[in-house]
């Protein structure tokens, strides 16, 4: 009975979605003059001299979204900690869920780990030139830490360091925004020279903010993974 109802519901949703998408032809150029996209595509190379338009949108035009998004991650790691928090009772034998990996895996991870870190750093430093940026780079670095945590049972990321990195990066982001507010009248406004298109040092505050975002995302994701991996279970 419930199944029939659900299938009926799905049919209705599917039909209305198909109907709605009929009005949206695929692959059509919908960027007319006057839309925001046209503005972004036109102004980004000249006014910001940032090659990657998406970076420009994410960090500058819609920078407030990114601030909110970073807060969401921050909140998630915090909420995770608060949800999974539990008092340690005495007399309970606790075992970690991870078992030590083989030597091969350990040696391999040790080899790959720096490479992953460098890749992540590259991705977020070049966020304004090539695809990628703070989120991607941060996530890549977090996978690097994940690898280490899985390979070495005792590999611990210091929570203090994570917290400092996270807070400092957050303060850097907000601080740059406030400096923009003071120098150029509006929050997160660009106040540095914009440089030349496709140079590493171009785009004013955009690369700086993206690096801060990268550090913050990396710290937050590592924190989330660390919390989850360190769940102890009663044996």
């Amino acid at each position: 009975m419930k199944k029939l109802f659900v299938i009926f519901l799905l049919a209705v949703v599917g039909y209305s979605l198909v109907n709605a998408l009929m009005d949206v032809p695929f692959g059509e150029n919908r960027i007319e003059p006057g839309t925001v996209s046209a503005f972004y595509l036109e102004k980004t190379p000249t006014q910001l001299s940032v090659a990657n338009v998406i970076t420009a949108i994410v960090v500058n035009y819609r920078g407030f979204d990114t601030l909110g998004e970073v807060s969401v991650l921050f909140l998630a790691s915090l909420g995770l900690g608060s949800i999974l928090y539990r008092k340690h009772k005495e007399g309970e034998e606790e075992v970690a869920i991870l078992k030590p990996s083989s030597q091969l895996v350990q040696a391999g991870s040790k080899l790959i780990f720096p490479a992953i870190l460098v890749l992540g750093a590259y991705v977020f430093i070049h966020g304004h030139l090539t695809p990628g940026g703070g989120f991607q780079g941060g996530a890549i670095i977090a996978t690097g830490f994940l690898l280490m945590m899985m390979a070495y049972k005792d590999y611990k990321v210091s929570h203090n360091i994570l917290m400092w990195v996270e807070s400092l990066a957050g303060i850097a982001f907000a601080g740059i925004g406030i400096v923009g507010l003071v120098v150029s009248h509006s929050f997160l406004e660009n106040f540095l020279a914009i440089g030349n298109l496709n140079d590493l040092f171009s785009g004013g505050i955009i690369p700086i903010i993206y690096v801060a975002v990268g550090f913050k995302v990396a710290a937050e994701l590592t924190g989330v993974l660390d919390t989850l991996l360190n769940i102890k279970d009663k044996h």
């Binding site: 919908r30 972004y40 990657n52 994410v58 949800i83 999974l84 989850l228």
Partner: protein
Amino acid sequence: MDIDYNQLMSIGVYGSAIGLILIGLYAVLIKKHLTKIVIGLSIIDAGIHLLFIAIGYIKDGTAPIFSPGGLKALENGQPMVDPVPQALVLTAIVIGFAVTAVALSLVIRLYRHHQTARIDQIKSLKW
């Protein structure tokens, strides 16, 4: 050969987006296992992200990056695809991950209390 490849692509992309949304919805509504429900949620999210990118795509377009390659493509008359949906999806993916993580931590909490993760065996509150 006069197959409209754009048409074909549109069927593939829109079809999979709608399919993902519907399949995810089915999982959320029917399945009883909490982890399965969260999987369903993440499938719905994936479908919506695909839809975002699909509406921003422009036939024969190039990525909205003014790198040397991108500039060359622009000179060849290729349009740049719409950057706004891509920027939004970036945000949406990260938010989706955050929500998934919180959901799964709640699943772990529930499992600790009930020793089961099936809705029909957790009956302390009315569903």
